[in-house]
């Protein structure tokens, strides 16, 4: 017998798995059911979906003043084991673009981003069921600007 590989490929879902009473039930039908369950393992769960607008005023050298909070974060109760995070950031209409952005997961840097945005994977191994914090932060250059970003961060279990 072979193994399912829920995270080994993009996977497929086969809708043709309904048995009519006159159909013969065979191994192929069971394998279709098993592969269908593996397909759903690939779904992502969201940890953060946010619009983040930050007004900046130039200040003392290299110390700009922030008119808005520089971070957006959330806590998620994660099961133990390996999780794959997918991080998307993009800029909005106002964004000045002169900043360094970062995403940290459980205190570890997952990726950085800037004006071009990012599409990044990050593998996180959780030692046990517990709350895990995900944080998106922008550090502005010392200029007057408005930064506005969109964040979409999700995870899925790796089996």
């Amino acid at each position: 017998m072979a193994d399912l590989t829920p995270n080994g490929s993009t996977g497929t879902f086969e809708p043709a798995c309904w048995m009519n009473p006159e159909d013969t039930f065979n191994h192929a039908d069971l394998n279709t059911l098993a592969e269908n369950t593996a397909f759903f393992v690939q779904e992502y769960s969201e940890v953060m979906s946010a619009y983040h607008k930050v007004g900046i005023m130039a200040g003392a050298p290299n110390r700009p003043n922030y008119l808005d909070g520089d971070t957006v974060s959330s806590y998620t109760f994660l099961a133990g084991g390996t999780h794959q995070f997918l991080i998307y950031t993009s800029q909005g209409h106002y964004s000045g673009g002169k900043y360094i952005g970062s995403v940290t997961i459980d205190g570890t840097l997952a990726c950085t981003f800037g004006a071009a945005g990012t599409s990044s994977f990050f593998t996180f191994v959780n030692t046990g069921p517990r709350w895990v914090q995900t944080t998106a932060q922008v550090v502005s250059f010392d200029i007057t600007q408005t930064i506005d970003n969109y964040y979409s961060i999700s995870y899925r279990r790796m089996l």
Partner: protein, 164 residues
Amino acid sequence: MGDINLATASFTSVGMILAGTETLTSAYGSNLANNVGWLLSRPISLWSCNIPIRYEDTKLGSSVPIEATIPLQTGTWTLYYSMTGSYNAKYIHYGDYYFPNISLDGSLVVTGVGTWVSMAGSFTWPVDGHKIEIELSADDVADTDHICGYISIYGVRNAGDIHT
């Protein structure tokens, strides 16, 4: 035969693709059923809301109350919530900062007003009519208080509670 237990269901990958000559066993069937149960027991992201931490926002211009109706299958759920907020040393701020209160279906479930330390927790909630009504609010706060933060809620089905 027994029922799927969402609290204990696990996902089995090993040996789940049968060769044509292999025998279907009860263990295989149990694994297949538990795979479905495990999928059903995963957290579902329900709602999130980022109330900006903005210096000009006072209660007079507050973003709360915020109301939303979320579709959720009837049954008993464990709901997880997170409320976070912070700003750096160069943030121009005045007044006090608080999270909102969270109410579900008209009942207060989380008191955020008066707190700015990030908070997260869970509680059991019965869902009826395939929906929950969420409200973020703040009463009896000063006009210079700021009600803000990132609020997220997700749900996990309770063990053995599977409704059609």
